[in-house]
Subunit: 222 residues, 2 copies
């Protein structure tokens, strides 16, 4: 099997490929993995030897198909364990990430699939992130940032792009939860502050930074 370290590199490369371009820089990996650049260079060479990535000196890395399979498998584990922790053990959504970082490295496809069944084949984790299926297929979401909506538009809150406990706590405190229907009541021109209306609640004012961290499924206003 692969080491935890390799798995963390694969996951990091995968996420950087998704977020930015196709090719990932040494420095970007060093930053997210919290190691120094020469460590990354070293590791990438070893992983290239195992055909997990294609590495071009001084250019960057990409996952091979094999590497992608492993990365998506880990993400599947991570998100299923997060569902377990929240739905079954009663954790809050801001408490589960670090535990899932450990649990995602348990090596057993069979366990993953049994856990999936036990949880009722959830489609998304507690933060709204989609859970890859057993074949490594991850549904393409068409959610957009709340900050892209215009006055009067509506959406359903389906995910976050900031997963920090601080932000998640802020949402709890503000009564903003996954699944809520949101309508943009006003956008302050000066600083892009949003006034939104949550179903059955009085209007709430959120900063641009917050609006830019919330994913919504836009509801077409007919």
């Amino acid at each position: 099997m692969h080491s935890f370290t390799e798995e963390n590199y694969l996951k990091a490369i995968y996420k950087l490929q998704e977020a930015n371009g196709l090719i990932v820089a040494t420095s970007a990996l060093a930053q997210v993995l919290e190691v120094h650049a020469p460590s990354v260079t070293d590791m990438l060479k070893r992983m290239a030897g195992k055909k997990l990535v294609t590495y071009q000196k001084s250019k960057g890395v990409k996952l091979t198909e094999k590497g992608r399979q492993v990365a998506v498998g880990i993400i599947r584990n991570h998100r299923l364990w997060e569902v377990f922790l929240v739905d079954k053990l009663g954790y809050k959504w801001d408490e589960v990430h670090d535990l899932a970082e450990q649990l995602e490295h348990i090596h057993s496809e069979d366990l993953t699939n049994k856990l999936d069944m036990f949880l009722g084949f959830p489609k998304a984790d507690p933060h709204g992130d989609p859970i890859p299926d057993a074949n490594g297929i991850l549904p393409k979401s068409k959610a957009v940032l709340l900050s892209t909506l215009k006055m009067g538009e509506r959406g359903t809150f389906t995910g976050v792009t900031d997963h920090t406990p601080a932000f998640l706590n802020y949402l709890d405190k503000s009564g903003i939860s996954l699944g809520n229907s949101i309508k943009v009541k006003a956008i302050e021109e000066f600083d892009q502050t949003y006034t939104i209306q949550l179903k059955d609640k009085k209007d709430t004012v959120i900063s641009y930074k917050v609006a830019n961290s919330l994913l919504v499924n836009k509801v077409e206003t007919t």
Copy 2:
């Protein structure tokens, strides 16, 4: 925290201390951990430096109180996860050990305690082994080997001393399950073969080897 390797050494030392004497030999550890003796010597020195064991050159090791705490914590994790796998995910008792070997190293006391609650505070794992409580206290069992019972005596089957899938499968096939009441109907003098009666079942013949791997709570015949 401690590495998985250290935790496995601690667990191995703990089990050897319980089974045999107070002091554990390098060779015994090498055998159960499947490494070579110089590796053990090396590791024991490092662990002694961390005050997890007391190590006397060429004599052997013992756990310190700190080392014992860690060891029992891991055993608690292991057994709780085994209960989870069997009770919640539907695994059979002969399939869970290797997975629990991985899960036992998840570091979170809080997770362990929440899992314990979720499982309903089980007293024993699927093999009848007692689960230490949150304070590291492990109830002393008074179970004895079935092979120590005499003709006509009775007991309740509460545990096994052989945890191999082969043996556990044999018990399944023979219809012998934890909690069964067992009466010794006959003991063949020649080879110590036992004829036992299981509640509501016809008599079953088991070898001495089997009788010597089953733990029972003896029922005083009034």
